[in-house]
């Protein structure tokens, strides 16, 4: 089996004259928690609707579990669970009845799966209470239960924390992490709340105005967001020697433009500056750099992030 759960190739969707999704290539690897970040209206939900078969792309290709033909994709969807935009629930039914509809639909034998799934999302004690009387958080959890029914291998969640209180958000995050850890569930989760994804995702895709502008791992993101001193001197090789000998540090890297990113001595800029000038180097540039996830995102999309 492919190590990729989902791959899209130049996926495009146009509404009238507006390209909601524009040649997007994303890759979700098995076991990933893929955070799909974008402002409201960036194209996240449209993209997820295409992947789940609710909408149809104008061009491009979708590959799920290695399947890419219409029939194969239908079969592949049987191994997926999803909540798109909001939990789709029968409001006049109980939690158990909602799951029963989906159990019958999916042809899952036995009713034990309903009990187990309700327990997993902590809704086992809702009894005869109709969903219309549930809180928003309970509805979200029931939506998740519907998506999780039948033990899917790939879970797609579109803005799942909308309307959840802080405790609900933490609980949902812990549940997703638990499922990912214990069942090796691959998750594609979209959100515009960046800090929330930062604590959860292992890979990030940043979408803006329908275009995927960056796809990077957590390590790469950390690296990009790591605080450092950016130093540009007239002789960077000598500069490196100074840092190693005078400041006793090797916690730096040389960037392709010849700058040095120094990750230590962040609080001692004067000492760094003095060491370099005393060695006869001319400092062309010295600044403290590094982003929070929000400011990194802001920089990428060229505007203010939505927190």
């Amino acid at each position: 089996m492919s190590e990729y759960i989902l791959r899209t190739d130049e996926l495009t969707k146009t509404y009238k004259n507006y390209k909601a999704v524009n040649k997007v290539n994303i890759t979700v690897k098995k076991g990933d928690i893929y955070g799909f970040i974008g402002q409201n209206g960036a194209g996240k939900s449209t993209m997820l609707r295409l992947v789940t078969g609710l909408g149809f792309p104008d061009s491009g290709k979708i590959e799920i579990f290695g399947a890419d033909t219409a029939k194969e994709l239908n079969d592949a969807q049987k191994r997926m669970g999803a909540i798109i935009e909001q939990p789709a629930l029968f409001l006049n039914m109980t939690a158990e009845q909602n799951l029963e509809v989906h159990r019958l639909q999916k042809g899952i034998p036995g009713k034990q799966c309903i009990t187990d799934t309700l327990k997993l999302v902590e809704l086992e004690n809702t009894g005869n209470k109709k969903v219309k009387n549930f809180s928003l958080g309970m509805k979200q959890r029931l939506g998740l239960a519907v998506a999780l029914l039948g033990d899917p291998e790939f879970l797609i969640l579109d803005e799942p924390t909308n309307g959840l209180d802080p405790i609900g958000i933490v609980e949902l995050r812990e549940l997703i992490q638990k499922l990912n850890r214990e069942k090796n569930l691959t998750v594609l989760i979209s959100s515009h709340i960046l800090s929330e994804l930062y604590q959860l995702a292992t890979t990030y895709g940043i979408i803006h105005e329908g275009r995927l502008i960056e796809e990077l791992s957590l390590q790469e993101l950390d690296e990009k967001c790591r605080q450092h001193l950016k130093i540009k001197v007239d002789d960077h090789e000598k500069g490196v020697t100074v840092l190693e000998r005078k400041l006793n540090t090797t916690d730096f890297e040389i960037t392709p433009d010849g700058s040095i990113n120094l990750y230590s001595h962040l609080e001692n800029v004067r000492i760094v500056s003095a060491a370099l000038t005393e060695s006869g180097l001319i400092i062309e540039h010295l600044s403290q750099n590094g982003d929070s996830l929000e400011s990194y995102f802001s920089k990428l999309v060229g505007g203010s992030s939505h927190e």
Binding site: G53, K78, A88
Partner: protein, 254 residues
């Protein structure tokens, strides 16, 4: 397919609108039959009178599209269209990986069965029960064969009609619009039936299920009429189902 049918039956059983309509149909048909039988409501020149069973005259209301559509149009609105509305439960069905044609077909089958219960089984059944209670017997063989044949053919036309209403429900994806469009459809057909139209429209109408709803009740139907009725019902059902499956297959789910 059986999974989808089971799921649809489960949803129908838990659909409040269906039960309300069921009670309305039972109450209304019992009342109408009683009023006819007790001769409080005098209906004449009905096909049932011509067939020699005037006790069933109340059924002449239930064979009018303008009348029965009020029930099955409402059912389509609150059983099918509502899934596309604010709750969006149709999304779960599509995401479950079942082929859209099968999803559509399962919805159509269960909806049609519910429509037959509401507009055929309950009205005819309540008439027969009332007849049994009042006179202590049901009709003789010929009358029963007439009822069976006419309502068998009527049900076939109804299957075509529900295929049209299912298509409207899927296309609009909105309960209110489904009711409005279904009423508009029956009104248009009623006008075509009552007002002289061009030859082409009249000819098309004469081979439509709307014309057949009245024709199949004629006790003097010839073998040719029966063949026409069967063909009209089957062809309309199949064509409308295929169109419905195609439309649903291409529909973007919001």
């Amino acid at each position: 397919m059986s999974n989808l049918l089971q799921a649809e039956i489960f949803k129908l059983k838990h659909n409040k609108s269906f039960w309300v309509l069921l009670i309305i149909s039972a109450a209304l048909s019992s009342l109408m039959h009683y009023l006819v039988v007790s001769e409080w409501w005098m209906l004449t020149n009905t096909p049932f009178e011509a067939a020699g069973i005037p006790e069933m005259n109340a059924l002449s209301m239930f064979i009018l599209p303008l009348f029965f559509n009020l029930m099955i149009g409402t059912l389509a609105a609150f059983y099918i269209s509502t899934e596309f509305g604010s709750t969006g439960v149709i999304k779960n069905q599509i995401i479950s990986g079942k082929h859209r044609s099968l999803i559509y077909f399962a919805k159509y089958v269960v909806y049609t069965a519910a429509a037959v219960i509401l507009t055929v089984i309950i009205p005819v059944g309540s008439g027969l029960i009332l007849k049994l209670i009042i006179s202590g017997s049901i009709f003789n063989g010929d009358h029963l064969i007439y009822l069976l044949t006419s309502f068998g053919l009527f049900t076939l036309q109804l299957a075509g009609y529900t295929a049209i209403i299912t298509l409207i429900a899927i296309m609009t994806g909105d309960s209110g619009k489904t009711i409005i469009f279904s009423i508009a459809l029956t009104l248009i057909m009623f006008v075509i039936d009552q007002i002289p139209m061009s030859d082409l429209i009249s000819k098309l109408y004469n081979y439509s299920i709307f014309h057949q709803f009245g024709t199949v009740m004629n006790p003097e139907m010839t073998a040719g009429d029966i063949v026409t009725a069967v063909s009209t019902g089957v062809i309309s059902t199949v064509v409308m189902l295929l169109i419905g499956m195609y439309v649903f297959g291409k529909k973007e789910i919001k």
